[in-house]
Symmetry: C2
C-alpha cells in the first residue's frame, strides 16, 4: 500500500504515462500485460480516492472486454464501485466478459430493475451465454421481453444441460439455398443487416431446410459468379448435434481447424452454430477448473469474494480431509504398542506415506491428461495399468532400497531397513493402482476425473503407508 | 484382452458397424467419441493380427488428423507399426497432429533418409511448428532444401524462444496495399494460388511495407467495388510483436475474439501472422501441462512410452520428495523423547500435517488460476494475503477446535486437545502463506507457477505440522 502522504505524487507519476498511452491513437496497438496493469492501477486509485467523475472518464476510454478484465482483478468492494458507474448497455457488454464468479457477485448486488434494463441490451445469443448466472424469475422476465422467434430459440437452448453443444451454440448464421448462384450468395452476404461474429462460411440448406453443405466465404470470391452453390459447395461437413459433449466438439474444432460449425437436429435441420470463440472459452474454463476440482474447490470460487464465503467454500473437502486424515491415523493407533517399543517407527512412517502420495499424484495427473486428450480407452487400460505398476515396482525397489539403507544406518537395524524397503515398494504399487483407478472411475461415472482426486489419493497412500510400514514392523521387528 | 478363440467372431462383429460407418458417405458427419473408439479398436486389431494390407486400406480412409489422434492412443509398439505403413506425405501431415511426446518417439525411430523425405512434404510454416522435435543436423538439411526466402524466414523464426509469439507465428498472409481498390483486393484474393488457412482478413500495408490496417474478408463483399482500401480499412488493429508472450497473446485473442492477427517488428513491418488455431493449441498445451508440472512431471511425458524411460522421468521429483520427506521427519526425530512419553502424539501428528497440506494446495490452486487469468497483480497481492490468511484463521479455529475436542475425548487430555487446536490453526496459516508465496515467487522468476508446487507445499506443511505439534506438546505436556 502507498503511504497517504506519498499518494498524490505517486498518482501523478502514474497518470502521466497511462494517459499518454490511453490517448495515443496508434494504428497498431500491442496489447501488453504492463499496459493492463497500469490501467488497473490507475482505476483502482480513482476508486480509492472516490473520484467518480475521473473514474467515469477513464472507463469511457476502455472497451467492454478491457473493463471486464479490470473488474476480474479488483477486490470485491472496488469492483462494486466501478460496476455502479457503468451505463446499462456497457454493463451488459461487460457482463459477458467477466469470470462466472465475478459476474455472479455483481448480479447478486444489482437490483432487479437495473438488471432487467441491462439484460434488455443483450441479444438472444448473449442472453443464453449467461443464463445460468441470472436469478430464475428475472431471466423469465428478460426472455418474455424478446421477440417471439427469439423467445422460442432461447427457451429451447437454455434447456440443454451444461457441457453440451446445445448449451454453447449461438443462433445467428448465414444460410443460402443450394439452388442459389454464387452471385446470389454474395448478394445475401451484402444485404445481411448484421453479420454474425466469426462468420467464415455460409451454411447451405435444401428446400426441406436440411443442411447439405457449406461454402467458405473466400470461395464466394474465387468461383465464377454464375456457378451454382450446389456445384461448388463442400459436402464433407463436420457438424454437431445439440446433445454432443462440448469437450468432444472442442477436440473436433482443434483437429479440423474449424472457426465455425453447424449444429443440426436429428432430421439434419439447422438449429444453431458453434463458434471457435465459444468453444475456446469453454475449453479454457474446463482446463482451469480442473486444477481447482483436484483440490475439491468449485469452479466459481472467487479469489476476491467475501472472506466468510471463501472460508465456507473450503469446508466440504476440508471436512472430508479431516475425516480421512483422522481415519488414516486410526491405523497408527492400532500399532501404538509397537511405536512405544521402537519410536523410530513414528519418525520414519511419514516418509512411506509421503513418497506414495507423490507417486500416486503423478500417475493421476498423467491419467487425467490422457482422459482429457481421449488417449485412454477400454482397449489400452490394461496396458496402462501394467506400465504404471511396473514403473512403481522399479522405482519402489530402487528408492525403497535407498531409504532402507538410510534407515539401517540411522537406527543401526538392518531389519528396520528391510521393513522400510518393503513398505515403500508396496505403497508405490498401491499408489499407482489408486492413481489410475480413481480418475478412470470418476470418468466412467461421468464426473470430472480430477474431482477431489488429491484428497482420495492422500487418504489411500497415507493410511496404507502407515498400515504397511507399522504392520510389517510389528510382524518382523517386535 | 480378448481370448484368442473368441477373436475372429469379435472382430467380425466389430468390423461390420465400423466399416458401415466408414463407408457411409454421409453429407453431415458428426464426430463422436464412439466412432473414434471403434476405428481405433479396429485398427489396433489389424495391427495385432499383422494384417498389413487391410491396415493400409483402413488408414487410407482416414484423414491425417484422425490418424494422428489414433497414433496418440496406441501403445508404443503398435504405434510404430502403423507409422511404418504411412506414405511419407501422409506421415508429414500426421506428424503435425501428434502430441509432442508421441511425435518425438516416432521421429527417434525414423531413419534419417525417411525423416528428410517426410520433412520435404512440409511447407515452411509447418516446419517451424515441429522444429523443436527434429534432431538439429536433420533440421539443418531440411531447411537447406527450402527456397531462399522461405529459408530466411524459417531460420529467423526458429530463433524465437518457446512461449513467444514469434515461436507460434506463421509466414503466409494475404496483404494489400492501402492504395488498392476493393475490386483490386478481390482480384488479389481470386488470383492467390493458395490461401493461407484461417484467412479472415487482409492485412493492409503502406508503401514502406508497414502495417496500417486490416480489412475483414467479408467487408470486401459489402463495400462498393471502387472504394479505396485506405478509406474502408479498420485502423484499430490488435497486433503483436514476435517477442510478446504467447499466453498474453492468447488472452488478447479471447478478449477480442480474433481469428488471426498480424505480427510486426519494431518498425511496424509485417513479419508474420498469428492464427487462432495455433494459439488454441498452445493454450491447451499450457493448461494440460500445468497439472503435470504441479507434480513435477515434464510436459512431454508419454503415457504410452517405454517403461524404463517412464520410471526415469519420475526420478527428479521423486528424489526431491524423498529428500524433503526425510528432512521433514528429522523434525520428528528431535522429539522422539516426547513421543516415547506420549505415543498418542505419533498418532495425531499426521492429521496436523495433512490438513495443512490440503489447505495449502487449495490456496495454491486458486492463486495459480488467478495468475493464469492475470487477476493477480502487485496492487492486490496484499488483499489476497489478508484474505487467505483470514480464511485460514477462521477455518483453523473452527476445525482445529473440533479436532482438539476429538483428541481430548480420545486420549482424555484437555491439554493435548489444546495443543492440537493451536497446531492446526498455526499450520493452516502457514499453509496459506506458502500456498500464495510459492506460485507468486515462481511467476516472478518467470517459471511455471505450478511447477513442483505440490512437493514444496507438502514439505512445508508436513515439516511445520510435525514441528508445531510436537514442539507445542513438548512445551506444554511434558
Amino acid at each position: 500500500m502507498t503511504q497517504p502522504d506519498e499518494r498524490p505524487k505517486k498518482l501523478a507519476e502514474r497518470l502521466a504515462p497511462v494517459l499518454a498511452q490511453l490517448q495515443r491513437q496508434s494504428v497498431v496497438e500491442t496489447v501488453t500485460h504492463r499496459q493492463q496493469q497500469n490501467r488497473s492501477d490507475l482505476i483502482e486509485n480513482l476508486v480509492h480516492r472516490q473520484q467518480s467523475a475521473a473514474l467515469v472518464r477513464e472507463l469511457n476510454k476502455l472497451n467492454k472486454a478491457d473493463i471486464g478484465h479490470l473488474l476480474n482483478m479488483l477486490p470485491a468492494d472496488k469492483r462494486h464501485t466501478v460496476w455502479q458507474e457503468l451505463p446499462n448497455p456497457v454493463a451488459a457488454g461487460v457482463l459477458l466478459e467477466l469470470n462466472d464468479s465475478v459476474a455472479e457477485d455483481l448480479i447478486e448486488l444489482t437490483d432487479e430493475t437495473r438488471l432487467l434494463a441491462i439484460l434488455e441490451s443483450l441479444d438472444s445469443d448473449e442472453l443464453t451465454e449467461i443464463d445460468d448466472l441470472i436469478p430464475n424469475h428475472v431471466l423469465r422476465q428478460a426472455i418474455n421481453a424478446l421477440e417471439a422467434n427469439e423467445r422460442h430459440w432461447v427457451t429451447q437452448t437454455i434447456a440443454y444441460p451444461e457441457g453440451t453443444v446445445g448449451d454453447n451454440m449461438s443462433r445467428d448464421s448465414l444460410t443460402v439455398d443450394e439452388g442459389c448462384s454464387i452471385h446470389e450468395a454474395i448478394e445475401r452476404v451484402r444485404s445481411a443487416p448484421e453479420l454474425p461474429p466469426q462468420t467464415d462460411k455460409l451454411f447451405v440448406t435444401n428446400r426441406h431446410h436440411q443442411l447439405v453443405g457449406i461454402v467458405p466465404l473466400i470461395d464466394l470470391m474465387r468461383h465464377p459468379d454464375h456457378t451454382l452453390i450446389r456445384d461448388c459447395m463442400d459436402k464433407d461437413v463436420v457438424s454437431f448435434s445439440p446433445d454432443d459433449d462440448a469437450e468432444d466438439a472442442g477436440q473436433a474444432f482443434e483437429r479440423y481447424d474449424l472457426i465455425s460449425a453447424p449444429v443440426v437436429d436429428e432430421h439434419r435441420r439447422l438449429v444453431g452454430r458453434l463458434r471457435v470463440e465459444t468453444i475456446m472459452d469453454y475449453l479454457r474454463e474446463v482446463a482451469e477448473n480442473q486444477a481447482l476440482a483436484k483440490e475439491g474447490l468449485k469452479a466459481d470460487t472467487d479469489l476476491f469474494g467475501p472472506i466468510l464465503e471463501g472460508a465456507r467454500e473450503r469446508w466440504p473437502w476440508l471436512v472430508i480431509n479431516l475425516f480421512t486424515a483422522f481415519l488414516a491415523t486410526r491405523f497408527i493407533s492400532v500399532f501404538e504398542g509397537t511405536i512405544q517399543q521402537l519410536v523410530a517407527l513414528a519418525t520414519l512412517m511419514p516418509i512411506v506415506a509421503s513418497v506414495g502420495g507423490n507417486t500416486g499424484n503423478q500417475t493421476a495427473a498423467l491419467v487425467i491428461r490422457g482422459l482429457a486428450m481421449e488417449q485412454i480407452q477400454t482397449g489400452n487400460l490394461g496396458y496402462i495399468y501394467r506400465k504404471e505398476l511396473t514403473i512403481s515396482l522399479v522405482n519402489g525397489i530402487l528408492w525403497g532400497t535407498l531409504l532402507g539403507l538410510a534407515a539401517w544406518l540411522l537406527y543401526n537395524s538392518m531389519l528396520l531397513g528391510m521393513v522400510m524397503m518393503a513398505a515403500v515398494t508396496l505403497n508405490l504399487l498401491l499408489a499407482a493402482l489408486i492413481g489410475i483407478s480413481v480418475p478412470i472411475l470418476l470418468d466412467k461415472l461421468h464426473k470430472d476425473p480430477a474431482m477431489g482426486s488429491s484428497v482420495v489419493l492422500t487418504f489411500a497412500t497415507d493410511s496404507m503407508g502407515f498400515f504397511l510400514f507399522l504392520g510389517l514392523a510389528t510382524l518382523i521387528l517386535v
